[in-house]
Symmetry: C2
Subunit: 813 residues, 2 copies
């Protein structure tokens, strides 16, 4: 317990000034929740001064205000480059209040002036139609984190700190959020923080004791048990507790000084190669031989501040006879129906006046000098730090010339590559070219090598600050590949890294990216909103490489088979979301190049890691990807004069293989048929142009798919998604889609497509069934296809491998 | 460190017998991964004895086998009612091997006999086309947990233990899984485990040191730091480490004895009301006054076993000159290409023979007596415990008569109820009626009261074993409402509870249920598979009540607005998934009644908590819900003779309100128009009957929606979902859907529908735009509607409340 000696580093004047700032912020927070007029309380509070609908969250606000007030002090005292991630960001009034006091808000929104008129607008706009959200949000200066869906504060903070050696990222973690899985996992991020190249993360665990309606788990542990937990997470706790503001100001100032001194000492020691003489990881009995890493030394026990203050501190103690202050009843609006309840109106008046606003603001409503005494200047203000508007700092990513990595393709479908393996070579070069800048990271849940991207280890290793053993490979205290078996932590790290102006890629098993469905929702919402805020500068896109996909779960089977992330993503804001299904290595390179250079998107790239035929040379791949969808005339049998009899369309690597094989079967067995092969790389192309920036016009669509011919569409994922995208098209009634029907197990690759009716033989049968007039003349061919499927069934159950005619198939023309 | 004294509780004979069992299980695990023939190695191993495709996970298997072997011993020694959740369930070969040895497998699958022939089939079927999955799966006797998507083992174990006071649930947690968020959060579940009414959970943290390609975080902490972490989680660690089997057998036996003795003592003390004199939560300095709970006493520090053994233990130490045993290279198949690489073939032969199979199996391939010495009998076997086939134990849930809770409805749209509030009263009765049986639980992330279900506290409290304060309400050491701010933990608890034969309901904010997207995927996959396994008995459905939905996020705004869980669910196996959108209180009661009584489904019920008009009396509600979709003829203006001019359809409470208001506007302003109002409760009704068991025939669909009239469909969620469901229908080209377009913020309820073009005025404009010939004659009415929208815009920006004409609207006829 670090506060046992009750240090008091502040003079009385300092305490008074800090307390004035805190009271001002509290006043402004209450004002935002309640007031429609009379912002300075220059007259007695009347019902019409109060908002008709009372919305917002008071409970966490005084705690956030305390943290902000004290961060101001240390930023000024140390000329600190600092930002803060506000986990309990539903306490939006607090962060808005501080931003207004320090002037950041007015600089961002000149209409909200730092005077009585601006204060009135600040109050009215809060959670008001046409105003600002009730949470910390993209609209809030100085924020990279919406505090609504809890769990991601700490991983965002680490993401912001990586490769920002001069930055301190404070992170307020509410005791509600601390119960979530993603937050619980992210404590261990300190095993991945490089004290040399990364900045520091200072978690501030705010135990105000209650969630919406319940006590919190961590607040109801004994301090000893909580300390064990935090030390087990690799931290050294510093405690601040109390409900007497003057005492808490002293304790908080002392705690921040202690924490920042330790951080500085750790960083200094690591960067000098010395031992800081401070607490490090618990010593391992007889484990000295285990540490082989050069450079990292012992992992620091980074400080964590445990702040225990009452929920709704300084608000009404009781309302209607029930305890409110210090309980869950403070969570949102402690006093309700203030317009109609005179007792509540009087309580609100007293509550607001308890902050003594006339001491805090002058007659014009400007914050007085004492309030501003510790407010930092310029970019050092938490609401103005450029790291929180990462686009300001973003540099172009050096993506090498694709031709160096391109597979030569003399004849389609004769050579094979592992697409992600080749992409790994390109990423190796990106890593090498950013070795000094350190603004590119690759994240993944222990799957970089499994996803065949291991070439990157030629340029950098895997970040690792824990113990190493001689047998380990590619672990590197300064590495920029981030692997932890937590998709949540990977996602949170990458989001924090991108939001602070850097670049990255998340490689993930396709099925398990659903683990971050809700996280990507929030990131898309963030991007969608920032695109409407001119002062927010564009960010590098969040890029997913989804591999180890549904069709190739040979080791794992049904539980690892789910292509639905695409569906999830395509429900979201069209100006943000992009989905790519490159069918081979060169198209993957082209798509990845585009994604890595793009801004403000969420790009989902689905590509296999298994050997895959090369279909297009690099130039053709570039052209095809630029169009997003196109006719592969070399694969079809059109005469160029007439419309084809049937369109075989495909999206995804495995469906493309089956369509190519089906096209070949049709050519051999039904030579009279004019077949068109269409490949779709960019799925949103199928949407009408009014619904997505990449959408096609009807004329373009008809030119590819015809307005009236049967289209057999072999798709990577759930077949109905294609219908959902194309239902408005003229030819929709003729569209027949094959895809994943949720039928899976551990079996061979070809058996998977057979089970889901996506195989080449079934596609030929679909052609016969759909092209008018073929059913009789082509009956023998249909029988041939049936026979092939039966042959497959028999063969596989005996041999456990795919039919030789499938396993050894190549494209012939 | 509890193993410091190195206790040796086993005699030499006991060690030999346990080791024989373990070797047999290891042999059978390797055999499953590799062998196609020669199962007993009665002849030298030849290439054709080896599978052509080598799939599966060896690395974790010897550890799982060790745990199983030793659980067998303590089950027999103590006549323990025990089950095990195998977190590293990708080690399927291990659990299958044990199930075969003990006879459970042959009893479940008589074709796989417990002899050489059966062993051969056991080997061949593993991860083979037409065989069994490579993971622990529904097909595996004794399992309630697929080990593929990691993170849920411990919450499943707790779910199984709740309300099973006689049950011990062992839970193996791999050190990979331990890095995930859901697992990290679930450690704190011990604050919710009632030692009186619940069974025990014994976590066994298996540190084999590596994931797929990396060391694990927890394995690279010092033992002291790990102990701090586990004590911080509220556990008392017992360590077992080593790579010498004989020493590890002794240590593991001692650890299990210690752990089970402590568990028994805690339970005995709690059930007797005495102090067990064993380790409890860390003492709180000066905190004695804080504990007010009657009955719970001090929270026990439940044991956790930390098992450190090498990954791939007993497998090849090196392969091709690289270390394999004890490293990540053992994760899947340590020896590859065995058919073609003679060195690997010889290594495999040596590896298999190292277990001395002739000592373990007789000439007929039956396990020898020594191997079976500690195998439990009958239902005590881990593969046969009835708790793991919960349908065997499931009882009908007593759902009370709905008429007692029904809202009387004399005239539609004149009275209001909070639907979830009334449902809470019904659930209170369910809680009361199951007070003795204790087989119903309500789970939620701190939202039971926020979701207006607080009436349940009349019958039971919120489970809570941590410290309490006098101000707390409804906390109860024996409560059956489960609240923790972790959707993952809630979901995992409920899944475990249902899978062991009980009932429950998960109430959740609609937007944040996406947090468990991937978990529900796995549960649906589990149910889909068990439905095809006759020996698996039907389970109670997993019921979601999604409330605080997209349209009523007054306090929280954009981050809390997402109706996409429905889309996610409807991608999944149609025989399992059901989605209901009851438009009022009585339909909610009817739907909930159906869901609570149903089996083997995932039911998603979306219903508001805000006051909502009552539309149907209880009888009408029952009939409407039974049909799933129907014409509300009292709301339309059809003459019953002719088809209507237009159909106004709705699904969801808010869309229904807007459609009813729009219908009234049409009646007033366009009296010449024949309008039909259709309400859809059961969304899958829109699907073709071939695609979902609830799907309508085309004739039924046309009878509701007409084949050719304009249909204006007001839908709760993303509008394209309705198109995706209905694209095959004849009238699809005339279907015009309004819904949530991802436009949200903190604003008024009516402003939300206006922003998303779902409001009554827009719907009337849609009618005018879509009904042929109306555009000219109804232009003045259209202008009226435009004016109303403008009036709304002006009003709301000044007043911040909804237009009085909207706020005070009621249905008139």
């Amino acid at each position: 317990m670090s506060d046992a000696a009750a240090p008091a580093p502040l003079s009385d004047d300092e305490v008074r000034a800090l307390d004035a700032h805190w009271r001002a912020a509290n006043y402004l927070a209450v004002g935002q929740i309640y007031l429609l007029g009379n912002p300075l309380l220059t007259e007695p509070l009347r019902p019409e001064h109060v908002k008709p609908r009372l919305l917002g969250h008071w409970g966490t606000s005084p705690g956030l205000n305390l943290v902000h007030t004290h961060l101001n002090r240390v930023i000024r005292a140390r000329d600190l480059d600092a930002m803060c991630v506000w986990g309990p960001g539903h306490g939006g009034p607090a962060v808005l209040a501080n931003s207004w006091i320090e002037g950041s808000y007015t600089e961002t929104y000149p209409d909200i002036t730092r005077d009585a008129e601006g204060m009135g607008k600040l109050f009215k706009q809060f959670s008001f139609p046409g105003g600002v959200p009730s949470h910390v949000a993209p609209e809030t200066p100085g924020s990279i984190h919406e505090g609504g869906e809890l769990g991601y504060a700490l991983s965002h903070a680490y993401g912001a700190a990586f490769d920002n050696p001069g930055l301190v990222v404070a992170c307020v973690i509410g005791d509600g959020e601390a119960e979530t899985g993603p937050l619980a996992a992210s404590w261990h991020a300190n095993k991945f923080l490089d004290p040399v190249h990364d900045g520091a993360v200072l978690p501030i665990l705010h135990l105000n004791g209650y969630k919406i309606a319940n006590p919190t788990v961590l607040a109801r542990l004994s301090e000893d048990e909580l300390d064990e937990l935090l030390r087990g997470y690799g931290h050294d706790p510093v405690h601040v507790s109390g409900d007497d503001p003057l005492q808490v100001h002293q304790a908080m100032a002392a705690a921040l000084d202690t924490a920042l001194d330790r951080i500085a000492a750790f960083q200094h020691a690591a960067r000098d190669g010395r031992d800081a003489g401070l607490p490090t990881e618990a010593t391992e009995p007889g484990g000295a031989d285990a540490r082989e890493t050069g450079g990292a030394g012992r992992r620091p026990r980074w400080p964590v501040i445990v702040l225990r203050t009452p929920k709704g501190w300084t608000g009404p103690a009781t309302v209607d006879g029930l305890p409110v202050g210090g309980t869950w009843r403070s969570h949102q609006v402690p006093l309700s129906e203030v317009r109609t309840n005179p007792v509540h109106l009087r309580q609100l008046d007293e509550w607001l006046r308890s902050y003594r606003p006339q001491e805090l603001f002058d007659a014009q409503g400007r914050p007085r000098e004492q309030v501003l005494a510790y407010v930092p200047h310029g970019d050092r203000r938490l609401g103005s730090n450029p790291h929180t508007n990462g686009g300001l700092l973003l540099r172009e990513l050096p993506v090498p010339d694709l031709d160096k990595y391109a597979a030569p393709v003399d004849r389609p479908g004769t050579t094979m590559h592992e697409p992600t393996h080749v992409l790994g070579e390109l990423l190796e070069q990106v890593m090498a070219d950013t070795a000094e800048r350190r603004d590119f990271r690759l994240v993944g849940p222990d799957e970089t090598a499994s996803n065949r991207l291991q070439a990157v280890y030629g340029a950098t290793g895997k970040a690792w600050q824990a113990k190493t053993l001689p047998v380990d490979e590619n672990l590197d205290p300064h590495g920029r590949v981030m692997e932890i078996l937590s998709e949540h932590t990977c996602q949170g790290w990458l989001e924090g890294y991108l939001l602070t102006g850097r670049h990255g890629l998340f490689s993930c098993y396709e099925a398990f990216v659903h683990i971050v469905d809700s996280m990507v929702n929030q990131h898309i919402k963030w991007l969608r909103t920032t695109r409407r805020l001119p002062w927010r500068r564009p960010l590098a896109s969040l890029n997913y490489l989804l591999t180890s996909h549904v069709w190739r779960q040979d080791h794992n089977g049904f539980s690892h088979q789910d292509p639905g992330f695409i569906d999830h993503i395509l429900n979201k804001a069209p100006e943000v979301v992009r989905v790519y299904l490159p069918p081979d290595v060169n198209t993957l390179l082209s798509v990845a190049d585009h994604a890595l250079r793009s801004r403000d998107y969420v790009n989902v790239i689905v590509a296999g890691k298994q050997p895959c035929f090369d279909w297009l040379d690099m130039d053709a791949a570039r052209a095809h990807c630029a169009r997003g969808a196109g006719i592969w005339d070399w694969a079809g049998t059109e005469d160029g004069q007439h419309e084809p009899d049937v369109v075989l369309a495909c999206a995804g690597d495995v469906p493309t293989l089956e369509v190519m094989a089906a096209a070949q079967l049709v050519r051999r067995h039904l030579p009279q048929l004019a077949v068109r092969v269409v490949n779709v790389v960019d799925l949103a192309r199928l949407l009408p142009k009014e619904e997505h920036p990449h959408g096609m016009s009807d004329a373009e669509y008809d030119a590819l798919f015809t307005p009236d011919k049967p289209v057999i569409f072999a798709y990577h994922g759930y077949p109905w998604l294609i219908h959902r995208l194309a239902y408005r098209r003229r030819g929709h009634a003729n569209l027949h889609v094959r895809g994943y029907k949720e039928i899976g197990t551990t079996t061979t690759p070809f058996d998977m497509v057979v089970r889901n009716d996506l195989d080449r033989y079934r596609l030929v049968m679909d052609v016969i069934d759909r092209v008018p007039g073929l059913s009789v003349t082509a009956a023998p061919v249909r029988q041939l296809m049936e026979d092939a499927r039966l042959r497959h069934h028999d063969w596989i159950r005996i041999n456990g491998t795919d039919l030789p005619e499938v396993a050894e198939w190549t494209w012939e023309r």
